[in-house]
Amino acid sequence: MKIVVCVKQIQNPEIPAAQFRIDEEAKVLIPVSGLSPVLSPFDEQAVEAALRIRDRAEEGADIEITIVTIAPKGARAAIKAALALGADNAVLLNEPTFDGGGGYVTARNLAETIRAIGDVDLILTGRQAADGDAGVVGLGIAEILDIPAITFARNVQTADGVVTVQRVLQDGIETVEADLPALVTISNELGKVRNASMRETMRAAKKPVKEWTPEDIGLDETQVGSSATRYELERLYIPVNEIECEFISGDTPAEIAATLAQHMREENLI
């Protein structure tokens, strides 16, 4: 079975707000210096989901896990992390022409990459990339390839050409299945990602990483990156938060609580 996991490398999404910077003029993120980029968290969990499928597979089952990323600015950290976790190989689309695509172009280019890889049974993506927070690319790939898609998975299993997914609902869980090939987007409820083992980390450096150009996926330069995009970024900014916090103090918890309760009563909330 061939599994493709689409991953994106991003700036650590959990940095303190005070360190986060935007260049409003250029409408881009200013990377925090000295901070190493990471695999987008849901994508890291998508790699984990693929590894769990392989862990559960019968002895001798041939499961190949390929990492795919569009990363014109490089994605060394993300690829290394994914391979060290246990993925087998990677395809990297890192030509400058791939830059500035946006959701529509990214989905289209990833779909063509998956076609070029050939005979892929299962595609895993994150529910959303933790920089743009869009949640568009996974479903887009499925629509373009005309295969079924199941979103927000917390558990993915495959057997006999069928993928079975526990899908997270706001107030519960549903079990959904589809025939392969299919695409599944992974949510944080999948849980903890394993630590890279020493053995896999050592092997990672020797795993094959292919670098593909637009021609390798059957597209010309007008079909990739910003030349194919249909959206315009008008503005990018950090919203200002002008709230002045008034601290409620008192000698005892009871006194503090009484003041808060009194406020609530005045606001007609009690």
């Binding site: 959990e14 927070d133 107030d171 589809a178 919203p239 103090s249 005892t252 808060l260």
Partner: protein
């Protein structure tokens, strides 16, 4: 623009035969936008038991209502919605399509965009019209930044965040054309099969409509902390939510999660207890009218978004608050 597309189409979700609040909020947005760029507001609802839905949607701002009343639409299933919705949008030719940024909307909208070969802006907080084109403002970078985007192809699709808009006061005198459409769905074309669905029975006040929401985080120290929060919520007819970190540790049900990848609330009062105030969390409660936070760390980020702050131990403050509220109510 050179095409004839105009107006706004709103996809309204229906629950127990009633349009959900988010649908009504989007109708208000659609009215405002058509007021600027012209065209009409079309509301589309899929479901069962839609006898009164047309009138309701009219009162809240629709000029035209299309109802697809059919057993197959009792429960949401993206693949079942797609063929009919694509056909309706192709026929109505709106310039803009609004879909709720809800559990189903986030599953539906991207598929719909690619099927129609257009683009979608997810999780929008506001939309303005500049030179006749929708400029969509959405949160990105985990809530730390906002981007304003436009699309060169129409219709533009946008999913709208709950509580980012305010529904209009219903006007029963409004009239609209209410049409029933019949489904073109071929059920054999549905490729994903729901084999089991397990929803927790909602108890107490729903978070989205509660006037008071109390959110608990890791600073509660453990699952017991949620007991006190539940007690207070009951006293004030409020609801309890949580940070993702608390949900991840199973201190509370998954459904409590507020934030970027959880629910969106905008109550009169949000009390954040032992929550650090990560942008991912604030993305789900930042529109609350008043935020009060209880945190042992005076430098906690959450105080920057709070109207009132209490620096203290949640395990002391919260039981005391329960006690004081009880006294006031006595």
């Amino acid at each position: 623009m050179t095409d004839n597309k105009s107006g706004v189409l709103v996809v309204v979700e229906v629950e127990d035969s009633q349009p959900i609040d988010l649908g009504l909020e989007m109708l208000a947005l659609a009215r405002r936008l058509t007021g600027i760029m012209g065209g009409t507001v079309t509301a589309v609802a899929f479901g069962t038991g839609l006898e009164t839905t047309g009138e309701t949607l009219t009162a809240y701002g629709a000029d035209q209502v299309l109802l697809n009343d059919n057993e197959i639409f009792t429960n949401f299933h993206a693949e079942a919605w797609l063929p009919d919705l694509s056909k309706i949008i192709t026929e109505v030719e709106p310039a803009l399509v609004l879909i709720g940024h809800s559990e189903s909307g986030t599953d539906l909208a991207p598929r719909l965009a690619f099927r129609l070969d257009v683009d979608v802006a997810t999780g929008c907080e506001s939309i303005d019209i500049v030179n006749g084109r929708p400029h969509m403002t959405r949160s990105c970078f985990g809530g730390l930044a906002r981007e304003v985007i436009t699309f060169t192809k129409t219709p533009a699709l946008a999913t709208i965040r709950s509580k980012s808009q305010q529904a209009l006061v219903p006007d029963m005198k409004r009239s609209a054309e209410i049409k029933h459409v019949s489904s073109i769905l071929d059920v054999n074309a549905i490729r994903t099969r729901v084999v089991n669905r397990d929803r927790e029975k909602a108890v107490g006040v729903q978070m989205e409509s509660a006037k008071v929401v109390i959110g608990g985080g890791l600073g509660l120290g453990g699952p017991e902390g949620f007991k006190t929060l539940n007690e207070i919520a009951e006293l004030v007819d409020g609801a309890v939510g949580a940070s993702r970190a608390a949900c991840d540790l199973d201190w509370c049900p998954r459904s409590y999660q507020i934030g970027l990848s959880g629910r969106t609330v905008a109550p009169e009062l949000y009390i954040a207890v032992g929550i650090s105030g990560a942008s991912h969390h604030m993305a789900g409660c930042g529109n609350s009218k008043t935020i009060v936070s209880v945190n042992s760390d005076p430098k906690a980020e959450i105080f920057k978004s709070s109207r009132f702050g209490i620096v203290g131990n949640s395990q002391e403050i919260m039981p005391a608050l329960a006690e004081e509220i009880r006294k006031l109510k006595a």
